[in-house]
Subunit: 145 residues, 4 copies
């Protein structure tokens, strides 16, 4: 299973007075890519809501490499870099969709949280098939490296 | 009862590539002023949540008169222009806090919605004292005009 | 010339604590639709920047008809309702992409502003062919009504 | 020289459908605190613009410790953790203004960029007195630890 990069079109309202995208928006693009990834894996927002399993954000990190401007298209690649039964770390690579130039890299850490049980849960127990998919993505990534 | 204007400090992330505040933020400042007004009237978010009465946004309007920039302070004045048992219309006047120059005027329309009963309700019945306060603000405003 | 509706996918970060899209985001979707419309007409952000002609926002209006939620897709239809050599008014109709249910209607007013000359200009003089296209869209709309 | 913590009032539009503040907003609060810090040091946005020296964001990091809700007030403490002639790293500590409970910690990395010369510059050369202030804050912090 390979995750296709997510494409975001840079909007005017995402720019700031420096004439470039405000840095806080990259954090939102990470979220857009996560949602898209979940849909690719068959776990779109409807199914996720039904299962009650949510991925609470524990941390975010972003390193800005070059500037993004209004009208640009960016690809957001996503990988699994760490996985335990209750936690997952995702890595993001943002590149210009046209030139491939690196714009930013980032990482988000999550715990599995059950929105009905109102407490952290084990992804491995709640959604074992999704856990296996994430584990497969992580393994594949490690093979490449 | 007079509502004191609400003061907002313009943040860097509110600017866009024209070097001015993006127009969508004024809609958010209206909301900030509404929240502040409710607190002045003794109906802050905690009390509002307890009562279950919420003001759902039915419409927004904003007319932009002059530009606002990073670092500016703006005053947002608020008035009640129309009131029925179930609906209220608020008027906003945004001015530069220092020079008094008019930046924008606007209006929002709301219905009273009960977040527990999950349906529109009569403010006059649910929170009669708040209804009377709004009616007083409206009457005072009409006296002036 | 007909403008195809613009499709927006509702993002998680656009929701608020009522579990629906925060009303300020609709104003941003209007902008997304405007940008998309300009691209359809051959006046994407690069060409617009070259010409120096910009459409400053003078006013926005939005009437909320029904709620939009995370994961929904919405279509934003755009029409020209008024056109003078220096000013244009656009009308928006937001519907659910799947069910066609009306979500919101809105309007934005703009003046043509020259970002290099730093003053309002006549669209009819600066970009006569774009003026004619807008006039055609407006006329067609009037025929329908 | 001690930097007073910056206080932010949590707005309704900052919440998401989980009923808590969306995580991307903390990145914006870091920026609010930076701006406030610069004003405390006598380098508000007007003076900064005159000098031409800007602090471009190279990286952001945030670790979320507990949830923040609409109506809360948070304090954002700021420290200098690393300083070279061209680069600075700032650390943030977000706590509930009332209870002191830790909400988040974070870090941002910056390079000094000259907005007129359009290239990275040495803060130590461009604004030596500001460099000394930052160095003093950093030293004081180290004394405490």
């Amino acid at each position: 299973m390979t995750i296709r990069p997510y494409t975001h079109k840079v909007q005017y309202y995402e720019t700031d007075q420096m004439g470039i995208v405000h840095h806080s928006n990259y954090i939102r693009w990470f979220e857009e890519a996560r949602v898209d990834c979940m849909e690719q894996l068959g776990y779109g927002c409807k199914k996720a809501a039904d299962s009650g399993v949510d991925f609470a954000v524990l941390s975010v990190f972003c390193e800005y490499k070059s500037m993004t401007r209004f009208g640009d298209f960016v690809n957001v690649g996503l990988d699994v870099t760490s996985l335990t039964p209750t936690r997952i770390t995702l890595k993001y690579t943002i590149t210009d969709s046209e030139t491939g130039e690196l714009r930013a890299t980032g990482e988000t850490g999550h715990c599995c949280y059950h929105s009905i049980k109102k407490r952290p849960v084990s992804l491995k127990k709640e959604l074992p098939e999704l856990y296996r998919i994430f584990d497969g993505i992580k393994a594949k990534k490690e093979d490449v490296n």
